[in-house]
Amino acid sequence: MASLQLELQSYVGRFRTWAFTFRGSITLFSLLGLLLIPVTGNQYLTQIIITGMILSIFAASWDLLAGFAGQISFGHAAFFGISGYFTAAFVKFAGANWIMATFIGAGYAVIFSLLIGIPCLRLKGPYLALGTLAFSLILFNLFLSGTWLGGTEGISGLPSAGNIFVVFYIIAAFMVGSLVIMRVIVDSRLGTILKSIRDDEICADASGINTTTYKLIAFMISGFFAGIAGALFVINTTAVNPAIFSTLYSFYAIIMAAIGGLATIFGSIIGAFLFTLLSEFLRPLAAASLLIFATVLILIVRFAEGGIMNPFLERLRDLWDMIRGK
């Protein structure tokens, strides 16, 4: 009991120290701003932010797999979609509550990550990417042409988890929890091993690491969080259809993670919010919006190879130091 108390005190102490650092203050300030959005009463803005939060978990899950373990997936929508479907099915047909269904859905995403990961991990580089893409396309077509789980119509008319503000706070809690857990994982010993596999798989093998097992672990963790995002997506929309397996979602994850900065986890938040807000503001331009979006993306990739989060925070820090006269 005393040791538990000591450990708790140590965590509180570390949190306090972190909270007064530049990054800690920025994070807490941003989080506070985020949590106050529903207070404005603006449902439209709240809805956009909900989408951004869901996509940030999805993008971070891809970042964990690709940015930290070096396993490029072009089929991440498979985990997103499988979880979405199973979450919807458990809510609709088994009467499960949303939270329980979310974890069941994410559990199925983990199972599918194993089913996809085991054959695909024999592939490397672009072949792995294409292998995962093939699996997501297979699932898309199976759910599109199959009659189970609603066929092309999917599953709709799901009970709402609450009003938009309740949904907002549920999803915000999931986002904070998921991102913190992912960051803790990549900063742990497991993360060090995953990074070693990313840097040089042969060297990791020669260091006595069973790279296949660890790559599978990375697939499962990534699949789990992509599954959480897929389940939250369905909670928000109260419906699911085969479009959730669309390849576009896989590429959205890649784009968002790349915009924020690969191998950062938290960069996915910036990538996802920028992506969502930009998509929303460019929506009236219809097809031209894609052109503008692609141009913005090319510019970011060209001039901020490591994503925009770290350069942005550095500029902000310079500004902060200037204000403080340092």
């Binding site: 060090t192 040089d200 020669a206 006595g208």
Partner: protein
């Protein structure tokens, strides 16, 4: 003492090229053994076969009595035989400390150092190879000599009984070679079995008591460095004639 490694009738072909041709030899526990041969002789392929990075077409390899012929590299490392590479490999975005920690996190490393002793073990290895003051740096900024030391340090993180060092002096300046030589001698004195390759016999002359010479995939001579240096077949392999030695 006693046998630690036994290679029997080992053959590896790449298409029409026989890179290793019916190799047979033994390594005693605690021994320091050299493998020499000109470029393309098959030394690295032999190391790849022993460390599980290539599978042979025929023949077998026994490590400490265990048949490791088709075992995976990480399995062989966890049995106690680690290796370095001719072209140095490292985890370029990890610090030197983490580079070593990865090896300490292997099952064999964890068994030796304990899960809670990884950082201490990695620091201690960095100290022993003379890189502890660079522990937080990434390997990309290190000079070649330090990268060679790091290679050996990573192998030590797996707590090996036997080390395969592939061309450990390749690309090093004279002072750097001396540093690596000292390190290898110290490891040998600590009881680690060392098997190293080189294509210049003089580099191995003062280091190893026994040498195997290889040419065009075949083991062509075996004995003390002096005996091998004077072997007519070896001289022909190196110089294309039977007299003198470079």
């Amino acid at each position: 003492m006693g046998l630690i490694l036994e290679v029997k009738n080992l053959t590896k072909k790449f298409g029409g090229l026989t890179a290793v041709n019916d190799a047979n030899f033994e390594v005693q526990r605690g021994e320091m053994l050299g493998l020499i041969g000109p470029n393309g002789a098959g030394k690295t392929t032999l190391f790849h076969l022993m460390s599980g990075f290539e599978n042979p077409n025929s023949g077998s390899i026994f490590y400490d009595g265990v048949d490791i012929t088709r075992k995976k590299p990480y399995q062989i490392v966890n049995l106690g035989m680690a290796r370095t590479f001719q072209l140095v490999r490292s985890f370029r975005y990890l610090s030197l400390l983490d580079n070593i920690s990865v090896a300490c996190l292997s099952p064999r490393g964890k068994e030796a150092f304990g899960s809670s002793g990884i950082d201490e073990a990695a620091s201690s290895i960095l100290t022993s190879i003379g890189l502890v003051d660079k522990a937080r740096l990434p390997p990309v900024i290190l000079p070649h000599g330090d990268l060679r030391k790091l290679e050996i340090g990573k192998a030590l993180g797996t707590n090996p009984e036997m080390l395969l060092l592939d061309e450990p002096f390749s690309g090093l300046a004279h002072e750097e070679k001396e540093g690596i030589t000292k390190l290898i001698k110290r490891l040998s004195n600590e009881g680690v079995t060392i098997f190293l390759t080189g294509h210049v016999l003089q580099e191995l002359m003062t280091l190893v008591p026994r040498v195997i010479a290889m040419h065009q995939g075949r083991l062509i001579a075996e004995g003390s460095p002096q005996e091998v240096a004077n072997n007519k077949i070896v001289l022909e392999a190196y110089l294309g004639r039977g007299e003198g030695f470079a």
